[in-house]
């Protein structure tokens, strides 16, 4: 009762304390959400290759920090395998998109416009590429550069007409831009080479058996299921951004502990005389601890709820507005941060609890 009443008696103090905890919770959720969101979204292109098996140059196991070159005529070898239904080439390389003097790293992808395999799977505006000289750009990349459907943009060293804007093709480190396969071969000076084949298994065959069949049946290539290829690609990104983000999450947790600790400490300091009065009246130290812990629990719970709500709001706002920056706040993350907040609250209330336990009750007579 006293814990809650003490907090409610000073509403400004309560609001500031809750905001302090909410900030710490928000910081942790945003950092963790950025980490999960980025690693999830970064493989969006691979994830949308449905059930395909990715065939690539041996030694290449992920998409972002390796270049795969395969002879285009490997396609016939792949189609000769009894497990293979189709094998569609894609040709892609990372490049530098320059528009009005602004440079943005992006990924140029050539695909077979006849089958559409490897092309954009969701359009925000316009239509898919139908002929040479046309491009479908990621809508976020287009938006950042003020590009609309119908505009002319320079891809590598040629001008293209933007015929469509694609959804879900942006991640923190990647924007995908789609052109026809012959255009890509010309721009990327690929000659008769492609980067990957997207192989669909025949009915009755699963991707793993196709992977084995390709590895044993087609010399000079390697193969991965889309899930394995995405996982490998994600791992590369995690090694690139994981450590700094995890460090920032750790710092956020430390900031949270310090914030809660300072908040509870300040709260306790303000109420020290009241605690002294209670001690004088005969309240035992462990009963005072319970008040301190009760106050901490209330602040931590309200702060957690507020921080989580703001993080959820930020997730939606950023997802809608920016597209390339995704904060994925998952139930597991919420649970983990709830535990973290409880741990922060427990740690943060240790010193104030000791302080309260050591109060000289005679303080009540010496105001």
């Amino acid at each position: 009762m006293i814990a809650a009443k003490n907090l409610l008696a000073e509403k400004t103090r309560l609001v500031l304390a809750v905001l302090g905890v909410a900030f710490a919770v928000l910081l942790m959720l945003v950092m963790a959400g950025l980490f999960v969101g980025t690693t999830r979204q970064v493989t969006t292109y691979i994830d949308h290759s449905r059930n395909a098996v990715w065939v690539m140059q041996p030694g290449v196991s992920q998409m972002f920090k390796a270049v795969s070159w395969l002879p285009a005529d490997d396609r016939s070898d792949l189609l000769a395998l009894p497990e293979v239904e189709s094998a569609d080439p894609i040709l892609g390389l990372p490049s530098d998109f320059v528009h009005n003097g602004t440079h943005t790293a992006y990924f140029v992808l050539g695909y077979d416009t006849g089958t559409g395999v490897g092309g954009p799977w969701s359009l925000a505006d316009g239509r898919p590429v139908e002929r040479s000289g046309e491009v479908v750009m990621d809508r976020i990349l287009a938006g950042k550069n003020g590009i609309r459907t119908g505009d002319t943009v320079r891809i590598i060293d040629e001008d293209f007409t933007v015929v469509g804007l694609s959804n879900q093709t942006a991640a923190a480190t990647n924007y995908y831009t789609f052109i026809s396969l012959p255009d890509a071969a010309r721009l990327l000076r690929a000659g008769d080479r492609v980067s990957y084949f997207l192989v669909q298994p025949k009915p009755g065959y699963d991707p793993d058996s196709v992977v084995q069949a390709v590895r044993s049946g087609v010399p000079g290539v390697d193969a991965f299921t889309s899930a394995a290829f995405a996982e490998n690609s994600r791992d590369i990104i995690v090694t690139m951004i994981g450590r700094p983000l995890k460090t920032m999450i750790g710092i956020a947790a430390l900031v949270g502990i310090v914030l809660i600790g300072l908040t509870v400490w300040a709260l306790t300091a303000e109420q020290l005389v009241d605690f002294g009065i209670l001690r004088a009246l005969g309240v035992r130290p462990n009963q005072l601890w319970r008040i301190v812990l009760g106050q901490t629990a209330i602040i931590a719970t309200l702060g957690y709820l507020a921080g989580s709500a703001i993080a959820f709001g930020a997730q939606r706002a950023l997802g809608d507005r920016m597209g390339d920056v995704t904060i994925a706040v998952t139930p597991t993350m919420l649970f983990a941060v709830a535990l973290g907040t409880a741990a922060m609250a427990a740690l943060g209330s240790v010193l104030p609890a000791f302080r309260v336990a050591r109060i000289d009750p005679a303080i009540a007579f010496r105001r």
Binding site: M1, I2, K5, N6, L8, A9, E10, V273, D274, I277, L278, R279, A280, L281, G282, V283, R284, P285, Q287, D360, P361, A362, A364, F365, R367
Partner: protein
């Protein structure tokens, strides 16, 4: 035995000093006398009684079935007994004697004023009587219980259950209403909320503050705050109320009215009151006046 909080008939305490019970010490020497303790514990030493009771191990095992207040054995007179109590502040050459071996006792229903000049040892005596300060030597008994050997936890329990406090600055909790402030000791003693608030309202009513039960201290006058504090001091049905300059912040009329209410309420509840004060206007309410100067009792006069 009637529960002082909910007035429900409670079963009498079993036995005199069952282990683990909040039982008063039954000393070998006669209680109720204004005399230093000369019992089984070493004379003149601040040491636990080694009698039939086991100090330092008490905890009321039984509670009122109605309100959950701990059930205490009725204590014998005197409710407070100080014997040859000395205390110094500081050490070595810098040591200052605050009390030089004072002895006095207080019986139930008695109102005693402790008066004297500043620095005479009044506050030190009050802190020792309130178990908030451990004297260098001597014996302190509350309700016959030698408190010298009690742990801090047991001292706190004894303060909560057997003592009531009034402070110069009222010391109400500003976040709580009057009724909630009065209920604080009850709630911390484990009394049910409804019973605690009923008791608080009953006490506030008896002190003419029923209409202020829902107000916070900041909304009350000084006199009202001190009356709320009086109700809080009476809430547990204590044996002894210790008051530190309770009228110092009140005008003379209010101070007199508050102290008269304190004295009559305490007598009605069969509680003793020790008031440390400079206020000579309170002489009229006291049964006895103890003059304390330079750490010694100069005289004990009838009020």
């Amino acid at each position: 035995m009637r529960c002082p909080v909910c007035h429900h008939d409670a079963a009498p305490a079993r036995g005199v000093n069952s282990p683990g019970r909040f039982a008063p010490a039954r000393r070998v020497d006669s209680p109720g006398r204004f005399a230093p303790a000369r019992g089984v514990d070493s004379p003149g030493r601040f040491a636990p009684a080694r009698g039939v009771d086991s100090p330092g191990r008490f905890a009321p095992a039984r509670r009122c079935n109605q309100c959950r207040r701990p059930i205490l054995d009725t204590t014998a007179n005197p409710v407070l007994e100080l014997s040859e109590v000395t205390h110094h502040y500081g050490a070595g050459d810098a040591a200052v004697q605050a009390l030089g071996g004072i002895s006095f006792s207080v019986d139930r229903g008695e109102v005693i004023l402790v008066v004297g000049p500043s620095g005479g040892g009044k506050t030190t005596a009050l802190l020792i009587m309130g178990l908030l300060l451990t004297p260098d030597s001597g014996s302190v008994r509350i309700g016959g219980q030698e408190v010298g050997g009690l742990s801090e936890r047991d001292r706190a329990t004894l303060r909560l259950l057997r003592l009531g406090f009034l402070f110069q600055d009222y010391n109400l909790l500003n976040s709580l209403t009057s009724a909630e402030n009065v209920a604080v000791p009850l709630r911390f003693a484990g009394v049910r909320k409804s019973a605690a608030l009923a008791r608080a309202n009953e006490l506030l009513d008896s002190l003419g503050l029923a209409h202020r039960a829902g107000h916070r201290p900041t909304e009350l006058s000084g006199g009202e705050q001190q009356r709320v504090a009086t109700a809080r001091a009476l809430a547990m049905g204590p044996d002894l109320i210790l008051a530190d300059e309770p009228t110092a912040n009140l005008d003379s009329a209010t101070g007199r009215r508050v102290s008269e209410q304190l004295a009559s309420a305490a007598r009605a509840h069969d509680a003793a009151v020790v008031i440390v004060t400079h206020d000579s206007r309170l002489d009229g309410i006291a049964d006895r006046i103890v003059h304390l100067e330079d750490g010694r009792i100069l005289e004990a006069a009838a009020g």
